[in-house]
């Protein structure tokens, strides 16, 4: 197949993935409305107890009378299960949610295929122009969302992730598309593979963290007696649990972002003769790094935990999105690789 044919198939795959993601979004939305129904049905006794992963049972055979010949231990007081990750209402995944998640997986496979085709068409990694970069970045976002489920069930964020991904893919397909072109000499470097890939990985984690922080803010308001018209929030984890999960996701993103910044500096030293020159893209990478550093400090500052730190996480993710779209398109600088 010629590169042009491969690129054309890649475009078809991107549109197919978007279509599947839209279906997944719809199914996630139905899941949320189902949750609302369940929450309203059981609202008088709002469950708070655990579907948590309790530590392995410590039961020991009680050997009858104490001081018996055989040495044994008897559990008197078991540790309370560690913080309640989900409310019991979220315990049973609805049919809609299972369908939605299956669609996410299908969409993601098609999405990855689109990237492979684009890469084959270009004969290199597919993220050397803005179009390829956004298609890759959203692919990684969905990938992080899928992989993170192994660690903890965050499927309730599905509608948010799908919305962000479909909007970005739509924007890329309609406004950023460029045909396959030879690679600009300035980009011919192994750092294109590392620096940009790790940046998109960080973005994936920031996206999930941003979603969790939004959920946290909404949950805080519900817990304070507000937001009665969004009953499905009752099936989400408590705001403090959301905050802790968000923190753990965001610090992973922060570690990747720190690496991105350094890899970028090393590359800039090779390509432009200086590792830091306050180019617009460097400025924004720096701003994002400082905002998330602020987020981590806020988590450790009395009076800044909770909603204030959640706002910082959301501002940080908004800055990431701004950096990858507006800054790439409209700001003058050395990172002029949109291909547009």
């Amino acid at each position: 197949m010629t590169p042009a044919t491969l690129a054309a198939y890649s475009v078809v795959a991107v549109y197919s993935a978007m279509a599947v993601y839209v279906l997944a979004f719809a199914a996630f939305a139905l899941d949320l409305s189902k949750r609302s129904a369940i929450a309203q049905a059981s609202s008088p006794t709002r469950a708070t107890a655990a579907g948590a992963k309790a530590p392995a049972p410590l039961s020991r055979a009680t050997s009858g009378s104490a001081g018996a010949a055989k040495g044994t231990t008897t559990v008197l007081d078991k540790a309370a299960p560690p913080a309640v990750p989900t409310s019991s209402l979220a315990g049973q995944a609805s049919r809609f949610q299972r369908t939605a998640y299956a669609l996410v997986i299908v969409g993601w496979v098609v999405h990855v295929a689109a990237l492979v085709l684009r890469g084959l068409a270009e004969g290199r990694v597919p993220w050397s122009d803005l179009y390829g970069f956004v298609v890759t970045g959203t692919g990684i976002m969905v990938g992080v969302f899928v992989v993170i489920q192994v660690w903890r069930d965050l499927r309730f964020l599905g509608a948010y992730i799908m919305a962000v991904v479909v909007l970005l893919l739509g924007l890329a397909s309609v406004n950023f598309y460029v045909p396959v072109e030879p690679l600009n000499p300035a980009l011919q470097s192994a750092w294109l593979v590392i620096h940009v890939f790790v940046a998109t990985l960080g973005t994936g984690f920031f996206a999930v963290g941003g979603g969790l922080s939004i959920a946290q803010l909404l949950q805080t308001r519900r817990e304070a007696g507000g937001l009665t018209r969004v009953p499905f929030l009752a099936t989400f984890p408590a705001s403090e649990v959301l905050e802790n999960i968000a923190y753990r996701v965001i610090v992973v993103g922060f570690a990747f972002w720190t690496f991105t910044l350094m890899a970028g500096a090393i590359w800039a030293e090779r390509a432009w003769g200086r590792y830091w020159g306050w180019d617009t893209k460097e400025v924004w990478t720096f701003i994002i790094w400082v905002v998330f550093a602020g987020y981590i400090h806020a988590r450790a500052t009395r009076g800044w935990r909770g909603s204030r730190s959640a706002w910082l996480a959301i501002i940080g993710f908004a800055a990431v999105m701004f950096n990858f779209t507006i800054v790439n398109l409209f700001f003058k600088g050395l990172h002029a690789y949109t291909g547009l």
Partner: protein, 563 residues
């Protein structure tokens, strides 16, 4: 900083804690309401401001200000990264320019207010690091703190009874904890254990390395210099200040900072790909250089965009490239008054280039030529336009040099610096070319033309390539890289190593009653998996105890049990 008692309520001693500012969530709050404020003298005020500056809240606000303060640096062109943008901004918006310039927004990152933010931040940081460093060094030598009297209130508390006696249970607990990397201390019927000191070590490394980066860039960066030079094929550049086209020394750089070496451009190999829309996209640029250091022979090296050439701690980077037509100017008697290549700067991807040739001496008047060079020309009314970046070999469209001719004062006699790539036409008269009676000169290689007014003649003798290179000497990158790696390593340790304490306590039963064993943990900083870790520890400990008694059963020996 935080006021502390030797033993907090939760049983943690100050010696083992990471020292925190008083408004850290793990710090001890100072209840201002209950403190009667004494009248502060000067020292008191200084101490008060110092405590404010080194508090978490101040550090956080300074961080957010730093992020906010950097934003204008991306909105407005900066003198450091985009000087032409600043000039254009001034021309287009003279009024706003004045306001923004007075705020220092065109050099945001060296402006007094931005400097104030980061300097305060770093002072605050140093004020935090020093006591924490001292504290941590003490903690590294200290024993884990005394076991709290009541473990019930701590994380992951659980208790069991066992027939194993207290001393054995504790010995078993100690070896188990040691195997898991805890530092342990025995107290009466209990083991106190702590691990994860690397978390604080990493945190301190991270913050100290940040200060290191700032000092490296701010102080050692000033010993470097940068310079630009256009290098025509066959020409050798010697690394002395006078041989640069432009040269910017760092604050502490002297003439002796320049390593002696020479660079010569032998050949240049560009590669372009034709685009569907008729333009050409660059695929690869490679410059064959010869370099030598004093006393050495010429050695060949290839310079590419992402692969600088290094000579004696100095880097040479490929910035741009183009064509340099070679011309010879003769006076009316036929003797040569000027001969050599002149770099014409490219104006587009297809290398439509413009340039200036200045002949100040040798002719009856000072003469200058200004015009276009096109490697594959299409002739238009205003000049040539190139349709390919390659030199044409098509006889119908050979590379062309189109020149206008000026006479007058070139402004070179006063010794002031003059841009060699542009022409100040104020004191010059155009005697041939567009909008004059005499048509301009159109020359192909090998052709010559007579100048108007019998001034002499010019011959286009050949075409050479040139590259523009950036020459940098910066002593900092290796140190900056070292600090950057420390930052990354420190960050990973401080984010992902859990710092925790656990206690295992054995309360001997009275008489024949069984021993009661208690387990509990305490997080020092973020530690979401503590409860699970304590539960697993308790489980393993009990398995060990059961194993001990089983072995005792099989051997038939004396049983270890409560007396």
């Amino acid at each position: 900083m935080a006021s502390r008692t030797p033993f907090d309520d939760d049983g943690s001693s100050a010696a083992g804690d990471p020292l925190r500012p008083s408004d850290h969530v793990d710090g001890v709050p100072v209840d201002d309401a209950t403190v009667t404020q004494p009248r502060l003298n000067l020292l008191g005020y200084l101490r008060f401001f110092w405590r404010q500056l080194t508090s978490m809240r101040t550090a956080l606000i300074l961080l957010l200000l730093l992020a906010l303060g950097a934003v204008p640096g991306s909105l407005v062109p900066q003198r450091s990264s985009d000087p032409n943008g600043v000039v254009a901004y001034q021309a287009n918006n003279p009024d706003t320019f004045k306001v923004l310039d007075s705020l220092g927004l065109f050099s945001t990152f060296t402006s007094p207010w931005f400097s104030a933010i980061y300097l305060l931040l770093f002072v605050s940081l140093v004020g935090c690091i020093i006591p924490r460093l001292k504290h941590h060094l003490d903690a590294l030598r200290a024993k884990p703190p005394k076991t709290p009297a009541r473990l019930e209130r701590l994380v992951g508390f659980s208790s069991v009874t066992t027939t194993t006696d207290a001393a054995t249970a504790i010995a078993e607990a100690r070896s188990l904890l040691k195997r898991q990397g805890y530092r342990v201390a025995d107290y009466e019927h209990s083991v106190s254990a702590e691990r994860g000191y690397l978390r604080e070590t990493g945190n301190l490394i991270f913050h100290i390395a940040l200060v290191g980066i700032l000092l490296t860039v701010g102080v050692f960066g000033s010993f470097g210099y940068t310079g630009q030079r256009i290098l025509v094929q066959g020409e050798a550049f010697t690394n002395v200040i006078s041989d640069y086209d432009s040269y910017e020394p760092g604050r502490f750089a002297t003439e002796n900072s320049l390593q002696p070496f020479q660079v010569r451009l032998d050949a240049f190999h560009p590669k372009y790909a034709a685009q569907s829309n008729g333009t050409w996209a660059a695929e690869d640029f490679a410059a064959d250089l010869s370099t030598r250091v004093p006393g050495g022979a010429w050695t060949s090296q290839t310079l590419k965009v992402n692969a600088p050439v290094e000579i004696g701690g100095t880097q040479v980077y490929l910035l741009g490239n183009g064509f340099a037509p070679v011309v010879t100017v003769k006076d009316p008697t036929g003797s040569v008054v000027y001969s050599g290549p002149v770099a014409f700067l490219s104006q587009d991807n297809n290398l439509t280039s413009t340039g200036v040739i200045k002949v100040p001496d040798g002719l009856a008047k000072q003469v200058a030529f200004q015009g276009f060079f096109c490697p594959t020309p299409v002739i238009t009314t205003t000049g040539c336009q190139s349709i390919s970046p390659y030199l044409s070999t098509d006889a119908k469209a050979l590379p062309v040099l189109q020149l206008s001719v000026f006479t007058g004062d070139l402004g070179l006699d006063k010794g002031a610096a003059v841009n060699q790539y542009s022409l100040n036409e104020d004191k010059l008269t155009k005697i041939a070319g567009f909008r004059t009676a005499v048509p301009g000169l159109d020359l192909h290689v090998g052709e010559s033309a007579d100048l108007p007014d019998g001034l002499g003649s010019i011959e286009f003798t050949g075409i050479k390539r040139f590259v523009s290179v950036d020459i940098h000497h910066d002593p900092t990158p290796m140190y900056a890289l070292l600090f950057a790696l420390l930052i990354l390593g420190g960050l990973l340790l401080s984010l992902f190593v859990p710092r925790r304490r656990v206690w295992i306590k054995a309360i001997p039963g009275a008489g024949t009653k069984p021993t009661r064993i208690e387990y509990a943990g305490l997080a020092r900083g973020e530690d979401p998996t503590l409860a699970r870790a304590v539960a697993e520890l308790a489980q393993r400990h009990q398995q060990h105890l059961d194993g001990l008694t089983d072995t005792a059963d099989h051997s038939g020996g004396e049983r270890r049990m409560t007396s």
